[in-house]
């Protein structure tokens, strides 16, 4: 069979796309599993309930290098009942851990804002651990136009 230049180019481009896509897909799945694992480590194996915690993130982030993000948890913040810590995870980053906020009753309110990096469009997860051991979770998808991991 005679292979034309056009066919040869098409074939090699297809092969390259396949090679590029393969590890990419694999990594994405591994990260979701890693996120789940980190979540379970943080909660001590407890499945988090929804509610109480609010994660505020932009729907579309133009620049993945600085994505403003706010978490706030409803709590009295007294010595008897307060939010111990809140962890932030991003399932599409090279490493899903983002930050862990540790609160005390002296915080007054369990609210914190920071700026984070997002490599690509992905889910951001916030999990709160209360002083009585209960855990709450909120999740937001953030669409990223330009990734923020120096790629």
């Amino acid at each position: 069979m005679q292979v034309t230049r056009r066919q040869a180019l098409g074939l090699s481009a297809g092969a390259m796309a396949f090679v590029a896509l393969g590890p990419g897909l694999k990594a994405a799945r591994a990260d979701e599993a890693a996120t789940e694992k980190m979540l379970m480590e943080f909660t001590g194996g407890k499945a988090p309930a929804s509610g109480k915690i609010t994660l505020t993130a932009p729907e579309i982030a133009e620049n993945g290098n600085t994505v403003p993000i706010t978490v706030s948890v409803e709590s009295e913040m007294t010595d008897a009942s307060y939010v111990e810590s809140v962890t932030l995870l991003a399932d599409g980053n090279p490493n899903p851990a983002v930050a862990t906020f540790n609160f005390t009753p002296m915080s007054g309110e369990a609210t914190a804002t920071t700026r984070m990096r997002l490599a690509r469009t992905q889910n951001v997860v916030a999990v709160a651990k209360m002083s009585d051991g209960s855990v709450f979770m909120d999740k937001k998808q953030v669409k990223v136009t330009i990734g923020g991991c120096g790629g």
Binding site: N65, M106, E109, T114, C149
Partner: protein
Amino acid sequence: MAAPKPRVKVPKSAAAGEVITIKTLISHTMESGQRKDSSGNVIPRQIINKFTCEFNGKPVFSCDIEPAISANPYFEFTAKVMESGTFTFAWADDNGETYTHEQAIEVK
């Protein structure tokens, strides 16, 4: 890299029991350890890995930081003040250094 410079915004005075908002920022590149230089070598990770805020020696807020926090890490959080005193802020760098900043508040 220039020496990291902390910038902190705390109200000068507050009423007893008031919940105040504190804003902090420190200039730091937060090198993630994911980037490569022009010859393809990985640039080693150097980030601020821990931020703490204390009031009169008691912990108020702290944060364990991963490379996914942006350059010039910014934190905004709240504190409940019952008495006059001093807030102490500390940022721990991967290179072992700690940058600190103090700010007093007067409670009326």
